[in-house]
C-alpha cells in the first residue's frame, strides 16, 4: 500500500539502526507516547536493533489504557439500562470495570454495539428514535474531530436521543506530568504523530524548552520510528532540546486548523483523572455548556459514580515508563487477554497486550537495557 510499504523497507531500517549506533556514546531513555508506536516497536523488534545504551519505555499513549475504572463503570451502568444502546470502539469491550466489562453486559442482553466511527453511532440514533444512544467517546486529540463532528451533526439534526460519554484526554499535559515526577527517567520523547497531525506541535515547544527534553514528532512505521529515534539521540548527544518533526508528510507546526476549530466549537479543556497518573488539570475534553444536552453523564446522572483501581495491576507504573509489562508479577500468570486484570492487556494498543502477543516467552532481563 502506498505510504506504508516504503516505510517498512528493511535496508532503510538497517541504515538507520547503523546511524543510531554511530551516534550514541552514552545511555539514553526515550519514551514513545503513542500505543501504536509501542506495537510497532515490539512487533518489528525495533528495540532489538538499537545499541545497548538506548532504552525505549512505553508511555501513557493508549487512551483506552489511561481511562480510569470509574469511567468504565459509567459505561457499564449505561449499557445496563434497557432503553440504552451503548456504542463504542471495539477496544473498550474487554476493559475490566470494577465488577463487569462491556462484553459481559452484552452477553447478559445489554445492547452494546461496536462501531468504526462515532458518525455510525449518530446513524444508529437516527434509526432508533425510541432508544437512547450513547457513544463512549474515548480518545486523544486524534479522535476529537470525529467525536466533535458527531455531536455537531446530532445537534444540527435535533437528535434528542444521542449523547456521548466523554473520556477524552490530551497529550501535552500528561507529558508535563511525566517530566515533573521526581522519579522521571525519560531523556527524550517520540511524540505521537497522529495527535500532532490534528494539533500541530507548537504546544510541545515550551515543554521541550522548560524540561530541556528533546521531543521528536514521529510516525508509526518502522522506518519512521527509527528515524525519530535517530533525530532524538542526535539532539541528546549534542546537548540540544528542541521539537523536531520526523513525520513531515502528515504533520505541520500549525496542525489541521479546521479540525482544531471544530474541536473548540464543541469541547473545552477540563480536569481529567488518568489511570496511573491521577488527576491532571486541563488534560481532558468536556462538552461546552451549549452542548450539555449531549452529555451522557449529565443526562443520566452518573457524576457520583466513583471507583478504586485494582491494586494488583501495575499499569500505572507502566504508563509512566517506570516498568515494562513483563516486569509485572501478574503478566501472563494471572493476567492474559482472556482474563485481563487491566486495560493495557486488552486494548489493541496496550503495552501489555503487545508484550503478550510478541514477547511472552522472553525473560524480562533479556530486554532491559542500559
Amino acid at each position: 500500500m502506498k505510504y506504508v510499504d516504503e516505510y517498512r523497507d528493511q535496508r532503510a531500517a538497517r541504515t538507520l539502526a547503523d546511524a543510531i549506533r554511530r551516534t550514541v556514546t552514552r545511555p539514553w531513555t526515550l519514551m514513545e507516547v503513542c500505543g501504536g508506536q509501542t506495537h510497532g516497536i515490539v512487533k518489528f523488534g525495533i528495540d532489538t536493533l538499537l545499541p545497548d545504551g538506548v532504552r525505549l519505555v512505553h508511555g501513557p499513549g493508549c487512551p483506552v489504557c489511561v481511562t480510569p475504572v470509574e469511567l468504565i463503570d459509567k459505561a457499564v451502568a449505561l449499557a445496563q439500562r434497557p432503553e440504552a444502546i451503548l456504542c463504542t470502539f471495539g477496544d473498550m469491550m474487554r476493559v475490566p470495570g470494577s465488577a463487569h466489562d462491556l462484553l459481559s453486559v452484552k452477553a447478559q442482553g445489554g445492547d452494546v454495539r461496536m462501531v468504526y466511527s462515532p458518525l455510525d453511532a449518530v446513524t444508529i440514533a437516527r434509526k432508533n428514535p425510541d432508544r437512547s444512544v450513547v457513544f463512549f467517546a474515548v480518545g486523544f486529540e486524534t479522535t476529537a474531530p470525529a467525536n466533535a463532528l458527531a455531536v455537531r451533526q446530532a445537534a444540527r439534526d435535533n437528535l434528542g436521543n444521542f449523547s456521548i460519554l466523554s473520556a477524552h484526554v490530551l497529550v501535552p499535559p500528561a507529558m508535563r506530568a511525566i517530566l515533573s515526577a521526581e522519579d522521571c527517567a525519560v531523556n527524550g520523547f517520540l511524540a505521537a504523530g497522529h495527535v500532532c497531525t490534528v494539533m500541530g506541535y507548537r504546544e510541545y515547544e515550551p515543554i521541550a524548552q522548560e524540561f530541556r527534553t528533546p521531543i521528536v514528532v514521529t510516525g508509526f512505521e518502522p522506518v519512521d520510528i527509527l528515524q525519530g529515534i535517530l533525530l532524538c539521540v542526535r539532539q541528546l548527544e549534542q546537548g540540544r532540546a528542541t521539537v523536531a518533526n520526523q513525520y513531515r508528510r502528515s504533520v505541520t507546526r500549525e496542525g489541521n486548523a479546521a479540525a482544531q476549530a471544530l474541536i473548540h466549537e464543541i469541547f473545552q479543556a477540563s480536569p481529567r483523572k488518568w489511570r496511573g497518573l491521577g488527576e491532571i488539570p486541563d488534560s481532558g475534553l468536556a462538552l461546552r455548556p451549549e452542548y450539555a444536552a449531549f452529555d451522557a453523564e449529565q443526562r443520566f446522572g452518573l457524576a457520583h459514580l466513583a471507583a478504586e483501581e485494582s491494586t494488583r495491576c501495575i499499569s500505572g507504573d507502566i504508563l509512566r515508563g517506570l516498568k515494562r509489562p513483563n516486569e509485572c508479577p501478574a503478566f501472563a500468570v494471572d493476567c492474559d487477554p482472556e482474563h485481563p486484570l487491566g486495560a493495557p492487556m486488552v486494548s489493541s494498543e496496550g503495552a501489555c497486550a503487545a508484550y503478550y502477543r510478541y514477547r511472552r516467552d522472553e525473560q524480562p532481563s533479556a530486554q532491559v537495557k542500559g
Binding site: M1, K2, Y3, V4, E6, R11, A12, T15, L16, D18, A19, R22, C34, G35, G36, G61, C62, P63, V64, F89, D91, Y116, S117, P118, L119, D120, V138, G139, F140, T142, T143, P145, A146, N147, L149, R152, Q153, R156, A192, H194, V195, T197, V198, F220, V223, Q227, R248, R249, S250, V251, N256, A258, A259, L262, S347, S348, E349
Partner: protein, 84 residues
C-alpha cells in the same frame, strides 16, 4: 487507538457541507469517509483517515524527501563502513 490509514480520495460529495462525504480507497477497499475537516482535499489526494474522518492530506513532496534523505544517509553510512 490513534491508528490512521492513508487512502486515496476517489470522489467527494459536497451536498452536505457539514460532512463533505467522500469515497476513499484503502488499497482497493473503498469506504465512506468525512472530509469535513479537510476542506482542501481533492480527488486523487492521499488522506490519513481516523475513525471515519480525514485528518490530513499526505504531502507527496515531503514523503519523497524522506526517502531521498534515507538514500543519502545510506550512502554516507556505506562510505563510513568503507573507511572503518
Amino acid at each position: 487507538m490513534c491508528l490512521a490509514v492513508p487512502g486515496e480520495v476517489l470522489t467527494i460529495d459536497e451536498s452536505d457541507p457539514l460532512l463533505r462525504q467522500a469515497r476513499v480507497s484503502f488499497g482497493g477497499v473503498v469506504r465512506e469517509v468525512s472530509l469535513a475537516t479537510l476542506p482542501e482535499a481533492q480527488p486523487g489526494d492521499f488522506v490519513l483517515v481516523h475513525a471515519g474522518v480525514g485528518i490530513s492530506v499526505v504531502d507527496a513532496d515531503e514523503a519523497a524527501q524522506l526517502l531521498e534523505d534515507l538514500e543519502q544517509l545510506a550512502e554516507l553510512e556505506s562510505l563510513e563502513d568503507g573507511g572503518a
